[in-house]
Amino acid sequence: MEKTWNFEEVVKVKGSIPVWHRYTAGAAARSFLALKERGEFLGSRCPECDLVYWPARAFCERCFGPAAEEARVGPGGVLLARTVVHRAPDGRRLEEPVRVGLIALEGADGLFIWKLAPGAYEPGQPVRPVLKPPEERTGSLEDILFFEVEGA
């Protein structure tokens, strides 16, 4: 069978996956509510492995036991790495690049990636979050506007 040699005659068919989604937060809900209601970073701890997760989790990925104990973390932390992203989520070039940091929140065992305020950053700097005003918070991570250098 002959392949198409004429580029003008190439047929393409457009389509999509036209569903959208609603996701429950599960155990992380308590972190989001604490953020919204009290501006707190409330994670959870696995008593077996002594690991503190933020946002909170139902289970410990390592020992598979429950990670149900409440544990307060942050809100400050240390910046481990940073990047300036020059692409929008859809891949287009950004006019104003976005700064993002890899942050070790105080008291948490994992790391957290979030936006950084404009400016120059060096690894090792202490950073702290800036939250939305209480009345604008929705109970999601988006209640955190960005992190900025401590004392800035």
């Binding site: 198409t4 580029f7 933020w54 940073r82 990047t83 300036v84 020059h86 692409r87 890899l102």
Partner: protein, 383 residues
Amino acid sequence: MHPKIAVVGVGWAGFQPQTPGISYKELMFEAATRAYADAGLDPRRDVDSWVSASEDYHEGTSIFDEYIPDQLGAALRPAHTVAADGLHALATGWMLIASGVARVVAVEAHSKASDILSLPEITAFALDPVVERPLGIHPGAIAGLEADLAYSRGAFTREDTARVVVKNKGNALKNPRASFAARLSVEDVLAAEPLATPLTVLDEAPRADAAIVLVLASEDVVKALDVAPVWIRGLGWSQDAPSLETREWEEAVYAREAAKRAYQMAAIKDPATQLDLAEIDDTYSHKELLHMEALGLAAEGEAGYLVAKGYADLDGELPVNPSGGSLGWGNLLEATGLARAMEVVLQLRGEAGAHQVEGCEQGLAMSWRGLPTASGAVAIFGV
């Protein structure tokens, strides 16, 4: 003692940024036709089982396994897909034969990335919906942070990673399948358009289309065939925490764990001396260096130095990505690992052409499942 299982046929199609006028089915058919011809087998008579690697959102079709059988000769046969990399499919094929349920298995993976209009958004759709996606950034940021962390802790330098790009795109000049071959300097890479600092667009493998089929057979079948078998000596796959929060950021743990299993199976104690070549993930330039260390091809903190002094060059002590790697022939999504496996097989057969590594007897293929995962697989081949 593990059973002896060999690759007895390879076939490919595509390896272009676009494959216009050819559907994914036709691309698969072309690769499968070549692989069966290479093995001297008739799929309708001689192949017992099929494994294909695919992900729904890369195809734009839910339950994509529906559409794999016909063009592989697998209609009304024991065929299934794995939502995984081609090397996981290869491992699955190995297990099917080792378990005794099949003697000949065809393994397929493909990329029709050029059909996808919204790939960065789809990649970001793999992030945790409540904990990670609200950040709303291009997934390349994860690679940028990882590279920045490596530089700031002194694992290797920005120039070291640029040298990976120069090496791989240079090797690609000798590989007719590599669409992104180029002669570049370190300065060219550093001066390129930024993607997510410190990485530039040249540090990232561009996407491409291809289909790859490998035919595996048990030892008794191999004896009856007129082929030069390449034996699968080791297999391993693993993943670190899927969450960005709790995975290890300084080391490619998935590669280390996968390699540990593969080396044990292949009785490899000192990979850097026992392997003659390695085709390893270089979807981002810094990943090749992290992967070299995790795979034990370089000591911790030495991968950058070794690449700089030519150790991993095509004519170096341990050629790494002599084919040009993904930086040379493209990011093939789920097919990337199988493309690496095919490269190693061709090398061990002595059929790699201009990028042939002289006198090789044992080689490694390694894949990473791409952003945002911490998941990978390793296969060791030998003659």
